[in-house]
């Protein structure tokens, strides 16, 4: 198979980027999309040119590192898959393929197709954890968790933090990511003591990073390689509203008590 590739090239965050076109031939349909890019890079290196920088690591759809917008879709045309799980058999011979980085102000480009997703780490730092000291845990069976709750927490926890939700959202909103992270912990009894502070702090950080707002396009859910449901966004909204109401109540009671 052969393809014409339009690839976004950008030297660093400070310079403007541009598209460059490459022709590539001799690709087989069993090759993965990233293996196709490997071939392109081998060729570029052979020609004495700089290869295309792109993020990738596990190449089995779990680390969340790969992050390409292929023909206008984050992770490409295959449903519920990461870019590394995309195979060339999904394309037709001779097709023109446009490859862009995740585009969001909160994900600045580092080079070519590589972006900085540190904003996701900072959202976690704001409260995406349960404060349990190593060694202080009770027996794992001391707190039973209903199977439905554990399963639903797992549905949310399946998030790989790739950022496709942000890339797909017309508003570059990080609501699906934040919702998945908040709900995973807020659903579980172990996460209950901190649930209000958790949701308030994480949403506050999400906004501070400059992500857009959710306007319910549901593009995030469609782009998510792990099929995380946008229902979690509604639940995040509910958690936030109740948390703020409860925290008002608490501060009122505190001041009343002197």
């Amino acid at each position: 198979m052969k393809f014409k590739l339009n690839v976004w090239r950008q030297d660093n965050a400070k310079t403007a980027g541009r598209f460059e076109s490459y022709s590539i031939d001799g690709i087989t349909s069993d090759q993965s999309f990233l293996e196709m890019l490997d071939v392109l890079n081998e060729k570029l290196v052979g020609d004495g040119k700089e290869p295309v920088a792109f993020d990738h690591d596990c190449r089995e759809g779990i680390c969340g590192m790969c992050s390409l917008v292929v023909n206008g879709r984050p992770h490409g045309p295959q449903e519920h898959a990461t870019t590394c799980q995309l195979h060339m058999r999904k394309f037709t011979d001779g097709e023109e393929i446009t490859i862009e980085p995740w585009r969001a102000g909160a994900f600045p480009v580092i080079r070519d197709l590589v972006v900085d997703r540190g904003s996701f780490d900072r959202i976690i730092q704001a409260g995406g954890y349960i404060s349990v000291r190593t060694g202080a845990a009770p027996d794992a069976n001391a707190i039973p968790v209903a199977k439905e709750i554990a399963d639903r927490a797992m549905d949310a926890a399946a998030c790989i933090g790739c950022g496709a939700c942000v890339a797909a959202c017309p508003n570059a909103s990080a609501m699906l990511f934040t919702a998945a992270k908040v709900r995973h912990l807020n659903l579980l009894p172990q996460g209950a003591p901190e649930r209000d502070l958790r949701v308030m702090k994480m949403v506050e950080q999400m906004d501070a990073e400059g992500f857009g707002a959710c306007t319910n396009h549901l593009e995030c859910e469609a782009a998510c390689p792990k099929g995380i449901s946008a229902d979690f966004i509604g639940e995040l909204n509910r958690d936030l509203a109740t948390a703020i109401l409860r925290s008002r109540e608490a501060s009122k009671n505190a001041s009343a008590g002197g």
Partner: protein, 642 residues
């Protein structure tokens, strides 16, 4: 130099407690004066950095990925063992200890393995409290499954993503400490040199992968938790970035490398399809619980469609050879058996390098829905990659490199022979002997990070004066400057070769040599050949590699070339170690040491030791140090799965 394992003595169940009591403590007020570097942020590194930060040490944590959450621990599918005996099926700490010592083919220390079995209990408690959504029963209590041929159900799991969920637990604990200010995280940083001053590890030199900046970081202790070196084979189930650089740099600075030839070849991976292939994908071992492994009896049938081969013409070779364990024999045995039938010309699929893993009978017995419920995501993954529907045609599988049991030598405190240098998880050699059992890697990573290093690093730190007080080492110290200079020179030379071949092409060639000669079966002749070819390839690398771009920007080719350069040295050591060990044990199968039936034959008389290699220079023979292994509790005997 005699290796001091520092293993405690006395009754095995009291050793860890006794040892902990004897470890020195650091005064809580003094902890913040000590700086600790943790390289790697997977289960071992992430857990260690979080826990040490929580204890009050000043921690600097480094990873090459863009976020600590992406370390390759995330890819582990199956589960994590713990001797909880929640199923009341006869499990105990002693049984987990016993199964592990036997399973690793008696090439690990009893004291270490017992400690691992002991702290397995705490790990599950810790993870559940962190919010790891383990599978539950309807009553709300934790579910277990039997895994990797174990006779008891002691494996805890979170769907097929156990590694991911455990890592996210450790990552959340780590980010909590980052927010608290006790841990500073350096993502997209690669360690390129260990700083040793006066014989003690005092820091590292790193390259910021975003802009190429070289940085020097000093500390009172350095902890390496940088994973395994399976990528020396080029094709493995490891992530693309997994490398040996951190441990290899430490090795060249004096740390001994132990049992480098002990690598695990996992039997259930998707076979190689073509030359372009960049990595191999593991299919969880749990598939062998319901799938039956077979090849045609007659090599002439191998190109037929599986459905056209009648029952009588199929050879269910694992069930035939190992009637007691059948398809559930340990990984090393299953892998070798697949190689044997493929070598006989009976392998299926392109190149004849594959065997069938067939679910036909299970689907008939349990129904497709039940199979989908158990393995749905794995079947889907297989379908994506191969474009074949495993509900209709049997899967094709072949062994692939998955884990490395070898690593830097460490004592019972997880400290290498270089004082102040600790090594955790897959990066060390300690607990898996010659063959790691299923659901044990996650257990060891978290045991080391959460429950061992927090005590043992304190013992070391209590005996040294912190740099922040002593001010004996600064960035201007001659040894520190020399380490930095060495990094700069090396990067410069890689960029200056300006030859004709890419780093990947050398890596592929090296991988092929190691796979052929130091893979599933090793022979003296093959290893000797490899020991000639690898140095020649290394020489060509340094005169003909091409690395475009500059060192002052993000440059993935430069990163790759540096890693390949280290693999080219490590590969040689692996072959040397394999040559030295003229016995078959675990994943190490020497053709010269087999029974008449072709089964592995261990030689406890001569090889019941840990081989710890001391670097003497790149083109010089390393020195072998032997740590004798003694077995007081588990009697040495040949493993048998017949």
């Amino acid at each position: 130099m005699a290796l001091q394992s520092k293993c405690p003595t006395g009754p095995i169940e009291q050793r860890w407690d006794k040892h902990r009591f004897n470890l020195k403590l650091v005064n809580p007020a003094n902890k913040r004066k000590y700086e600790v570097i943790v390289v790697g942020s997977g289960l071992a590194g992430g857990a260690a950095a979080a826990t040490l930060g929580e204890l009050g040490y000043k921690v600097q944590c480094f990873c090459y990925q863009d976020s600590p959450r992406r370390a390759h621990s995330i890819a582990a599918q199956g589960g994590i063992n713990a001797a909880k005996n929640y199923q009341n099926d006869g499990d105990s700490v002693y049984r987990l200890f016993y199964d592990t010592v036997v399973g690793v083919d008696y090439r690990a220390r009893e004291s270490n393995v017992y400690r691992l079995a002991q702290v397995s209990l705490n790990i599950i408690d810790q993870c559940a409290a962190q919010g790891v959504p383990f599978a539950r029963e309807y009553g709300g209590l934790l579910d277990n499954r039997s895994f990797g041929g174990a006779q008891v159900s002691r494996t805890f799991y979170a769907r097929g993503q156990t590694g991911q969920q455990l890592l996210l637990g450790a990552y959340s604990a780590l980010e909590r400490q980052v927010a608290a200010g006790s841990v500073t995280m350096h993502s997209r940083h690669e360690m390129l040199e260990l700083i040793v001053v006066d014989g003690r590890a005092r820091g590292i030199v790193t390259r910021d992968l975003k802009d190429g900046r070289i940085e020097t970081h000093l500390a009172d202790a350095v902890i390496l938790a940088t994973g395994g070196y399976g990528n020396v084979f080029f094709l493995s189930t490891n992530a693309m970035g997994c490398n040996v650089t951190a441990t290899w740099r430490a090795h060249k600075k004096g740390a001994f490398f132990a049992n480098p030839c002990f690598t695990q070849i996992h039997p259930t991976c998707i076979p190689v399809k073509g030359d372009y292939q960049s990595k191999l994908t593991l299919m969880s071992e749990s598939l062998r619980n319901d799938g039956r492994v077979w090849v045609p009896k007659d090599a002439a049938d191998r190109d037929k469609k599986p459905g056209e081969i009648p029952e009588s013409a199929r050879d269910y070779y694992l069930e035939r050879r190992y009637p007691a364990f059948g398809n559930l024999v340990p990984r090393d045995v299953a892998s070798r058996a697949a190689k044997v039938v493929c070598d006989e010309g009976r392998g299926v699929g392109p190149g004849g390098l594959g065997v069938y893993l067939d679910f036909r009978d299970s689907i008939q017995r349990l129904g497709q829905d039940k199979i989908a419920e158990r393995y749905g995501n794995l079947f889907e993954m297989y379908h994506h990659i191969t474009d074949e529907d495993p509900y209709k045609v049997p899967m094709r599988i072949y062994p692939a490199v998955h884990y490395t049991m070898g690593g830097l030598w460490v004592d019972y405190n997880l400290m290498s022979n270089v004082p102040g240098l600790f090594v955790l998880g897959e990066a060390n050699f300690s607990d898996h002997g010659a063959n790691r059992l299923g659901a044990s890697a996650l257990m060891q990573g978290l045991a080391d990070g959460y429950f061992v290093i927090p005590y043992t690093v304190g013992d070391y730190l209590a005996s040294v004066k912190p740099i922040s007080v002593a001010k004996d080492v600064t960035k201007d110290h001659a040894d520190v400057k020399a380490a930095r200079k060495a990094v700069e020179t090396r990067l410069k030379s890689l960029l200056e070769v300006n030859g004709k071949r890419t780093a990947d092409s050398f890596h592929r060639e090296l991988g092929k040599i190691i796979w052929d000669e130091c893979g599933m079966a090793r022979s003296e002749k093959g290893l000797r050949g490899a020991l000639e070819r690898i140095p020649a390839l290394r020489e060509e690398f340094w005169s003909n590699v091409r690395v475009p771009g500059s060192g002052e920007a993000m440059n993935p080719e430069l990163e790759k070339a540096g890693r390949v350069a280290d693999f080219l040295e490590l590969g040689e050591l692996m072959c040397r170690d394999a040559l030295d060990r003229n016995e078959s044990c675990g994943g190490h199968f020497r053709e010269e040491s087999a029974t008449d039936e072709g089964e592995a034959k261990r030689d406890d008389e001569k090889y019941c030791y840990v081989a710890a290699w001391e670097h003497q220079g790149v083109d010089k023979a390393p020195t072998l140090h032997k740590e004798a292994l003694e077995f007081e509790y588990v009697k040495l005997s040949q493993r048998s799965y017949k």
